[in-house]
């Protein structure tokens, strides 16, 4: 009963949220929703202990794939978004063959190289990727009506509702995976790969599984972005955004499911809304960096540790939600 009321209240809040915001803030809200999926999918990969620098490029693979499927093959947009995710996941399976010969730091560098190769391929081949200018005029989501609400996908509010629905389903799947025996095995691979292997766990298979699931959801997030913005190019998926993903994950903390989401929301609101409102237009990156350094110095376990502290102080609330391997 309590869970249900929280669910209904949360849903209502998400529905009401865009109406109090300006047009540009509504646009930011759409990107924030997509970035939440991006950073949550990234966390699934970090469960196995590997940190990739190719995640944003793989998101771009989903975006390019979905854009090309609609443009060249005339596939219906909602289907092509899913196919974009599937393409990203499939590419991750292929990339895993060279990449998972490495671990840790070497994997990090290897994934960066792989990502840059993909980006350079987009730049080099004007057909079909459009070269440095990328792809323009990507078909938008077709408008539709559900009786009480008309979806007009040039409106950020409509696209926000669509993204919230898709992202909610994706997050639910990610959550189910993490809480399942598969998720436990990911943790096992992270903490003691030798003992996991001695228990019969195929390390390569599980690392590949995590990598391809994470890539698939990143691809969906990228595809959603492509059909919203309408234009993509290789610089939309460069290392800048990857650094943002890393900071969201690190500042939020990766020990819990909500940590990276928290990091993404707090930092985006801080950067895009608070600092803009305060008039720090030019100084924003500087202050943003300062806040990041301070949070790492004083909250080394991330924002999630603050939440856990607050939750455990309140008696009767019970222990906070914990992931299998905290």
């Amino acid at each position: 009963m309590r869970n249900l009321s929280i669910f209904v209240l949360g849903g209502a809040a998400l529905l009401a949220l865009p109406h109090g915001l300006s047009f540009s803030q509504q646009e930011i809200l759409v990107f924030l929703t997509l970035n939440i999926l991006l950073v949550s999918s990234y966390r699934l990969l970090t469960l196995t202990g590997e940190w990739s620098l190719a995640h944003v490029v793989i998101m771009g693979v989903g975006a390019y794939a979905s854009a090309l499927y609609t443009k060249e093959l005339g596939i219906w947009v909602p289907v092509s978004i899913l196919l974009g995710g599937a393409t990203a996941a499939l590419l991750a399976v292929f990339l895993s063959f060279p990449l998972f010969r490495m671990k840790g730091f070497y994997f990090l560098i290897g994934s960066f190289a792989a990502g840059e190769i993909i980006r350079l391929l987009w730049k080099r081949f004007r057909d079909p990727f459009g070269g440095a200018k990328g792809i323009k005029g990507i078909d938008p989501m077709p408008d539709f009506s559900i009786g009480i609400y008309d979806f007009d996908f040039f409106e950020p509010v409509s696209y926000y509702y669509l993204s919230v629905a898709v992202v909610a389903v994706c997050l639910w799947i990610l959550w189910r995976i993490e809480r399942s025996p598969v998720g436990l095995t990911f943790h096992a691979v992270h903490w003691q790969d030798r003992l996991a292997e001695a228990s019969g766990v195929n390390l390569r298979a599980y690392r590949t599984l995590a990598f391809s699931i994470a890539s698939g959801f990143a691809g969906i997030s990228g595809a959603l972005m492509a059909h919203y913005v309408g234009t993509i190019n290789p610089t939309s998926f460069d290392v800048d955004l990857m650094v943002f993903v890393l900071t969201w994950a690190i500042v939020g903390g990766t020990a819990t499911f909500y940590g990276p989401i928290l990091g993404c929301v707090v930092l985006t609101v801080l950067n895009e809304i608070v600092l803009r409102e305060m008039g720090f237009e030019q100084l924003r990156p500087l202050i943003y960096g300062l806040i990041m350094i301070l949070s790492i110095l004083f909250l080394p376990k991330g924002l999630e540790s603050l939440v856990q502290k607050l939750a455990s102080k309140r008696p009767g609330k019970g222990t906070p939600e914990r992931s299998p391997a905290e």
């Binding site: 189910r176 943790h187 003992l195 292997e197 019969g200 391997a325």
Partner: protein, 255 residues
């Protein structure tokens, strides 16, 4: 009849050093077999080759006639040969129960699609039951929710064995299971190992605690400097001149 577990002319070279040099021995089904030798004799290297952690430079390991040497560690494990590690190699950041659940990976293989939809309830319950069973067997059931890294040393060793036991192994390779245990814990662990043998689990054990080895094993293989030295039951090994020489450094010097 094919031998249950057979090590045949096993060789391991690290660069110029030959750590194991043509070692052969046989393990019968349902026995506790000890592998002993002075420090640096190559016991753990042999273990690592049997369990698939190292690929031998030469020779073979056969299980029921099938060659298992050169397979990867999880492939060896899936054929029923499960090992424990020296020291306390555990998932220290996970709870005791979660450690045991990882051990049930083989009998209850996770399926990601079933897990998302929720069709794996039976498997999850089965895995939990098996994990509980393994923890109860090693007397760890009351510590289920503790973090593995916070257990006492003796409990950590027992948990390492519980993780291996949870997977329904045919053969358990135990690498120095008594290290860091007090005599009382050692005695209890020996009883548990005898019970494992009664369950039909074959145990191959590397250990320095001679009292435990002599009291526990049905057969003992002794190696020295990577080579086979002697084999027999505990009484034979205890009085074997070559073994005494290897451990005490030669009767000539003593005399």
């Amino acid at each position: 009849m094919t031998q249950f577990l057979e090590v045949d002319n096993l060789i391991m070279r690290f660069g110029g050093l030959t750590a194991v040099d043509g070692l052969s021995f046989k393990v019968d089904h349902g026995e506790i077999h000890g592998l002993i030798g002075p420090n640096g004799a190559g016991k753990t290297t042999t273990f690592n080759m049997i369990s698939g952690f190292y690929k031998p430079s030469g020779g073979q390991v056969r299980l029921r006639g099938e060659t298992i040497s050169g397979l990867r560690m999880h492939e060896v494990a899936r054929r029923g040969v499960v090992r424990t590690f020296q020291h306390s190699t555990l998932f220290a950041e996970m709870t005791v129960m979660e450690n045991a659940l990882v051990g049930t990976h083989m009998p209850f293989r996770p399926n990601i699609f079933a897990a998302v939809i929720g069709w794996d309830r039976d498997d999850r319950e089965g895995a939990r039951a098996r994990a509980r069973e393994a923890l109860e067997f090693f007397g760890l059931d009351h510590l289920r929710d503790e973090l593995a890294g916070e257990l006492s040393h003796g409990h950590q060793r027992a948990l390492g064995m519980a993780v291996a036991y949870a997977s329904h192994p045919d053969v358990m390779l135990l690498d120095e299971p008594f290290t860091g245990m007090n005599p009382e814990e050692t005695r209890r662990m020996m009883d548990l190992m005898r019970r494992l043998r009664e369950d039909g689990i074959t145990i191959l054990i590397v250990e320095h605690d001679m009292q435990a080895i002599m009291g526990l094993c049905d057969a003992i293989t002794c190696m020295s400097f990577g080579k086979f030295l002697a084999e027999g039951n505990p009484a034979e090994i205890r009085n074997h001149p070559a073994v005494i020489e290897a451990y005490l450094g030669g009767a000539r010097h003593v005399a």
